[in-house]
């Protein structure tokens, strides 16, 4: 299972890459695999204010439509425009080409609620037991 060391994770299987005040958000390889072939993604609007742990996107696969929750609070900066035409990028490259959006996060203290790679690894292993 691919769990990059430089990212942070949530229990709902979102990942966050933090660069200064900007956070890049997507869903993990584990989540993409569990959902199966992804057919559609509904992204938030640019400038939309997100609240940590509240619904921010919907990802639809051949099996299910699932909610994606904001890992941090803040404002949406830019969307991954590739996903509209190529949602399969999430299955192929969950952490790079398949990212969902970038956001400017407003409360750095919220990072405490996120897991690092080893913790997420342990968490996922616990789920499959």
């Amino acid at each position: 299972m691919n769990i990059p060391k430089n990212l942070f994770y949530t229990k709902d299987h979102e990942w966050v890459r933090i660069e200064g005040n900007t956070a890049y958000v997507g869903i993990t390889d584990y989540a993409a695999h569990a959902l199966g072939d992804i057919t559609f993604v509904e992204l938030p609007k640019i400038n939309e204010a997100l609240k940590q742990a509240s619904h921010c996107a919907t990802v639809e696969s051949v099996k299910a439509a699932s909610d994606v929750y904001a890992p941090l609070s803040g404002k949406v900066l830019a969307l991954n425009s590739q996903l509209a035409a190529n949602p399969e990028l999430i299955n192929q490259s969950a952490y790079e080409k398949g990212y969902f959006f970038s956001m400017e996060f407003s409360n750095p203290a919220e990072k405490a609620a996120l897991m690092d790679a080893p913790s997420y690894q342990k968490y996922v292993e616990g789920l499959s037991k």
Binding site: F40, E60, V62, A64, A65, D67
Partner: protein, 445 residues
């Protein structure tokens, strides 16, 4: 086959599984005072006696009246082929297929139905049907609320009061701001509409022809609605689309309507047929089932249920809508009806309706004291102003063998002397003349 659902053994087994001793104990939380004392069921009778009792009840229906009532539901001819095909046991007995792809015949029928609805409305995609015209309009409104994230709805008062009431009832616990705009001289007041149209508006809802029978071209309005980022919704009468501009041609985003006029008999309480078609970009907000065309592993044409992941059985409380069923058998009837008519046939049917209504207008306007409202073009239904109370006249005309129209005072304040008259292709010249003569006689006395 016995229709006893559970034997005493079944009941005992179920009770012991959940750890309850008796049926009485199962219902002990319901106070005795609230429990029914009796279900008022008569004692059992023979099949013959029951048939006779039901026939007696049925004979109370006034089925022999010459019908000039419309008001949303229309007396159209249904070719025998509709019954013959729709009543085939392969269709008639099949409940919602839970393994839909095993029922390729059903899926193809629904696919054909969807294609017909798209052609009729001039829009991109249709679902597999909804309960009736009112629920379809409600679901259309919900699409607009979800899509825009706004909560204001501008509703034309020319929309059937039954539908408006349904919109209010369904949303009574939601924070939705409704603005009703008045109808002036039979048509929607543009001035009032533009006064209320703003960037908080989720949708503007019209009916075409409206409840008074007036046909309008809303193209100008739709353009302004779009400028504010709102959606335009039309509830339409499908038979009229054989000659009236389609919702697609006027730029509407969502079209809904009552499909009863397409081969479904008039009956109190239905079952009727709600249809819905939307522009492509609203596809994922559309509720209910959608059948799509695909190819199987051998490359042969086949049909599947598609976009189901937003539906209730998968997405539970987060589903696009909690409507989970459709009116497949009624949708099938509509598909057969339209397919039998064909494109030219539908246009011809619409023209018959229009011409007969125009003939009736001419004839009725010759009656002293009757004023036919002519401020707007109409399809097969129109409004007349009478010198007497319309409700009373309707009662009197029943005795003469006519269901002479819908008294508008029932739905609109101050319109007690207005009568809404529908003339379908079934009404003959002789019937229309006789109707006019009876009316003349009644008003002269």
């Amino acid at each position: 086959m016995s229709y006893i659902p559970h034997t005493q053994d079944d009941i005992q087994q179920m009770l012991s599984t959940i750890g309850v001793k008796s049926i009485d104990q199962l219902f002990k939380d319901i106070p005795v005072a609230l429990r029914p004392k009796s279900f008022n069921l008569p004692a059992s009778s023979s099949e013959f006696a029951v048939t006779q009792a039901l026939s007696n009840l049925a004979s109370k229906n006034a089925t022999g009246l010459v019908n000039f009532v419309g008001a949303g539901f229309y007396d159209h001819f249904i070719p025998a082929a509709v019954d013959a095909l729709a009543n085939r046991s392969e269709f008639y007995t099949a409940y919602t297929p839970y393994q839909p792809e095993c029922s390729q015949g059903w899926l193809q029928a629904i696919y054909e139905y969807q294609s017909i609805i798209c052609e009729l409305t001039g829009l991109d995609v249709s679902n597999a049907s909804l309960y009736d015209g009112g629920t379809a309009l409600f679901e259309g409104m919900m699409i607009a609320l979800r899509q825009t994230g706004r909560n204001k709805i501008i509703l034309d008062s020319g929309v059937n009061l039954i539908y408006r009431t349904m919109l209010y009832t369904y949303t009574s616990n939601l924070a939705i701001e409704f603005v009703e705009i008045p109808v002036e001289h039979g048509q929607s007041s543009r001035q009032e509409l533009f006064k209320h149209l703003d960037d908080k508006t989720a949708a503007v809802i019209f009916q075409n022809p409206n409840f008074f029978g007036a046909v309008d071209d809303y193209s100008d309005v739709v353009e302004k609605v779009h400028n504010f980022g709102a959606l335009a919704i039309a509830s339409v009468y499908p038979v009229s689309l054989g000659m009236v501009k389609t919702p697609g041609e006027m730029g509407f985003d969502i079209a809904t309507g009552e499909g009863q006029s397409l081969g479904i008999p008039l009956s109190f309480g239905g079952p009727y047929l709600g249809f819905m078609a939307v522009k492509n970009q609203l596809l994922r907000q559309m509720p209910g089932r959608i059948v799509g065309e695909t190819v199987d592993s051998d490359g042969k044409r086949g049909f599947v249920l598609t976009l189901q992941t937003r539906e209730q059985h998968i997405r539970r409380e987060k589903a696009t809508s909690n409507i989970c069923s459709n009116e497949a058998l009624c949708a099938l009837r509509a598909a057969i009806f339209v397919a039998l008519l064909g494109k030219d046939g539908l246009t011809e049917l619409a023209q018959h309706n229009y011409q007969k209504a125009e003939f009736a207008k001419e004839r009725l306007s010759k009656i002293k004291g009757v004023q036919v409202k002519r401020s707007s073009p109409t399809f097969n239904e129109f409004t007349v102003l009478l010198p007497v109370d319309a409700d009373k006249l309707v009662q009197q005309m029943i005795a003469k063998g006519f269901a002479c129209g819908f008294p508008l005072g029932r739905f609109y304040k101050g319109m007690d002397n207005y009568l809404l008259i529908a003339v379908t292709e079934k009404r003959t010249k002789a019937e229309i003349n006789l109707f006019a003569e009876c009316l003349e006689e009644m008003l002269c006395n």
